[in-house]
């Protein structure tokens, strides 16, 4: 870590704390969800998994609702970034961000300039926004109010919970792999919130050009 290196605050404390709770709740939710789907254990053990699923689901809900209220401006910025598309996104998807070439062939191919989130992260963001909301709402319906909901709606909630659960679990595997691969970003999210200016300029040139400002002290 050079002393002369410039840093950008990418993930402030509010985002990091939201992400910590998200990690602590979603990973147990995903594991218990998969176990509940395949039912490999006896009734008592499955009951324990269900309890863990419910408790972590409540934690996830509180985390999401708190961030939605406290960090509302950041939520709106996240929505804007996730739903902003250009020709660069089509070009990015046509080469899948250059990752397969890098991992499988050891080649570095030119990648179109990206903003704070690349096209894959935007797709993940959209899935998290829509899928996460549906998972929370249907989870509460299935756990807390199955006796109030009409039968057809309870069945629909079950199907939606299952489908979006699997989609987010599969996305999570890719997210964790690439999150650790981008180690500076990983450290920023889990430790100090900052990434080197030069790396950001290379990975997200549009973000640095259009959104980043120097702090006047």
């Amino acid at each position: 870590m050079s002393k002369n290196q410039s840093w950008i605050l990418k993930h402030p404390w509010s985002v990091r704390s939201f992400h910590y709770l998200l990690v602590l709740s979603f990973i147990p939710l995903a594991i218990t969800g998969v176990v509940l789907f395949f039912k490999p254990f006896d009734q008592l053990t499955m009951n324990l998994y269900m309890r863990i699923h419910v408790v972590t689901g409540v934690i996830l809900t509180l985390d999401a609702v708190a961030y939605f209220i406290i960090g509302f401006t950041r939520v709106i910025a996240f929505v804007k970034r996730s739903f902003s598309f250009s020709v660069n996104d089509i070009k990015w998807f046509s080469i899948l961000g250059g990752y397969p070439q890098k991992f499988l062939l050891g080649k570095k191919v030119p990648v179109p300039p990206m903003g704070k989130y690349n096209s894959g992260q935007k797709l993940f963001g959209i899935c998290v926004l829509i899928g996460g909301t549906i998972l929370i709402a249907t989870g509460w319906g299935l756990w807390g109010f199955p006796h109030i909901l009409p039968h057809g709606m309870t069945a629909l909630f079950g199907t939606l919970h299952l489908v979006f659960g699997w989609i987010l679990i599969l996305f999570l595997l890719v997210h964790v792999f690439l999150g650790i691969y981008m180690f500076d970003d990983f450290k920023a999210m889990f430790l100090h919130g900052k990434i080197p200016y030069e790396e950001a300029k290379e990975m997200a040139p549009l973000w640095v050009e259009t959104e980043i400002v120097k702090i006047e002290r």
């Binding site: 840093w7 950008i8 605050l9 929505v79 109030i148 909901l149 009409p150 900052k194 702090i215």
Partner: protein, 105 residues
Amino acid sequence: MKEERYQYEESPSYVSRREFIAISGIVIAILALPAVWIRSAVVKRNSYIRARLNGLYKDDAGSKVRVSHGNSGVAKLYKDFAGHPLSEVSEELFHTQSYVNRTRI
């Protein structure tokens, strides 16, 4: 890890006021519409039960015979054959002998 200073941050004006209002409105509407739909479905969830209930009362109201002891066929059966309710013949023919308490099953 030692906390170091940073020199750059995101511009707070990335989302303009107009965009903020528009996106907030869309987000809140998208969250509110399913809530309204779910509430409406929950309120109407017993409508088919109520419709059946009303249908049964309507059938009753339109029937000439509305109680079993007013049924002339049953009255004739007792008069001509079984004698009276709880008679020996009634007990033998109408009462079940194989009652099984299934409340604890």
